[in-house]
């Protein structure tokens, strides 16, 4: 029973218990809080599995953004309305049996074939120098498989657009002005955020960090500014807001098409690959930050159909 195994056992069992407790809660408010605690513990356990980039992102997006989205939409659905009872007993028993069997089969298969084939790790590390970044995960996302990330930013853009235009509430609620303490906090935290986000984009090149973590942080800043006093009293024009949503994606697509000149779609010459990767990383971070902020505003019900833009 080596100490590492002990720590891993404690962490994984507590993760499992937390998941059970989250699903046992009776009111939506408690379920969301349990889910955020589960997300934090999950981020911690990913450190134990040599995934620092993922634990950064999960800590920012799991309890952070998803928790904020859930809590914001709870304002409209009601914190303490208890959940209706689940389906009838036979159906519940059948579902538990089915999932149990699948779980047992998958666990047995995982236990049985736990030896690791050669995989693509050596290949990824071997091409790292030409990929323009010393952090293998940034190289995978932005250089080896940049095409995936382009489509994935598209997914985020479509989700934000749908929330903004199609799922906007009919009447939307106004936001109560925050107290003095929160305004002071906001004035102190905003410069710090604006310093950390570019740092996170920059450090992505050679240490855990990068576009996705910076984007999640940027959306944190966006959520804080939405909760705080509105610095811009005017209504953000619907067109301007929609264009800013797509800004990150436009930048990414322009860079992708621009590299046709060097040979192929999304191919960076090895010499200046790091420069291109930085450009794309900042556009990804920008796009993720704005889209997640607009989604938070949509979930909280502050975008309304009649009036253009934010209330």
């Amino acid at each position: 029973m080596t100490p590492e195994l002990l720590i891993d056992l404690i962490l994984s069992i507590s993760l499992l218990l937390l998941a059970m407790v989250t699903l046992r809660q009776r009111t939506p408010g408690d379920a969301v809080i349990q889910l955020m605690i589960f997300g934090l513990l999950l981020a911690l356990s990913w450190l134990r599995v040599q995934a620092p980039d993922l634990s950064l992102t999960e800590a920012a997006i799991g309890p952070g953004v998803t928790g904020a989205l859930l809590l914001a939409s709870l304002r409209r659905i009601g914190f303490h309305r208890p959940f209706p009872p689940p389906a009838s007993l036979p159906f519940r028993a059948a579902a538990s049996l089915g999932c149990g069997i699948v779980g047992v089969v998958l666990s047995w298969i995982l236990l049985q074939s736990w030896d690791r084939p050669q995989g693509l790790t050596e290949l990824a590390y071997q091409h790292l120098p030409e990929s323009g970044s010393k952090n293998p995960i940034t190289a995978v996302i932005l250089n080896y498989r940049g095409y995936d990330t382009l489509l994935e930013i598209g997914v985020l853009l479509v989700a934000a657009l749908s929330v903004y235009t199609l799922a906007a509430p009919v009447r939307g609620k106004a936001v109560k002005p925050p107290g003095a303490i929160f305004r002071l906090y906001l004035r102190m935290m905003t410069p710090l955020f604006l310093l950390v986000v570019p740092y996170m984009v920059w450090i992505g090149g050679y240490a855990p960090g990068g576009a996705f973590q910076a984007g999640a942080l940027l959306s944190g800043l966006g959520v804080l500014t939405l909760l705080g006093p509105r610095p811009w009293p005017i209504q953000l024009r619907r067109k301007l807001l929609r264009a800013s949503l797509a800004l990150g994606f436009i930048l990414f697509l322009v860079v992708a098409v621009w590299t046709w000149r060097y040979g192929d779609f999304l191919t960076y010459p090895p010499a200046e690959a790091s420069k291109w990767i930085l450009v794309i990383e900042s556009s990804c971070a920008l796009s993720i930050g704005i889209c997640l902020t607009v989604m938070f505003a949509g979930c909280a019900g502050w975008l309304s159909e009649e009036r253009e833009g934010f209330r």
Binding site: G179, I181, F182, Y185, M188, M189, L192
Partner: protein, 101 residues
């Protein structure tokens, strides 16, 4: 050098003890406001001790700066969120008393 290692171990255990005390406070105190009080105080102190313990083991200056930044931001945000939560809870209690009358 041994003194530094011994000192950081001391701070780390101290921090762990403070964490345990804050959790017992969380579980034992009767109503929300008291529990929040215990949490805010003990957690920040415990985090301070842990960070001091870790700082003593660091060698490069930049990491030390980042660690203290973590502590500062945690202090700031836990104070603000504590205040906002407490205000909300007190308004809830006043509302309940008004309804009772």
């Amino acid at each position: 050098m041994i003194l530094l290692i011994w000192l950081s171990n001391l701070f780390l255990t101290l921090g762990a003890l403070f964490f345990i005390s804050s959790v017992t406070g969380l579980l034992r105190f009767p109503d929300t406001l008291c529990r929040m009080h215990a949490l805010a105080k003990a957690d920040n102190l415990a985090l301070g001790c842990v960070i001091l313990g870790v700082v003593l083991r660091q060698d490069e200056f930049f990491a030390v700066g980042k660690l203290f930044l973590i502590w500062g931001v945690t202090l700031l945000s836990s104070a603000t969120s504590g205040f906002l939560l407490a205000r909300r809870i007190r308004r809830g209690m006043q509302l309940r008393e008004a309804l009772k009358k």
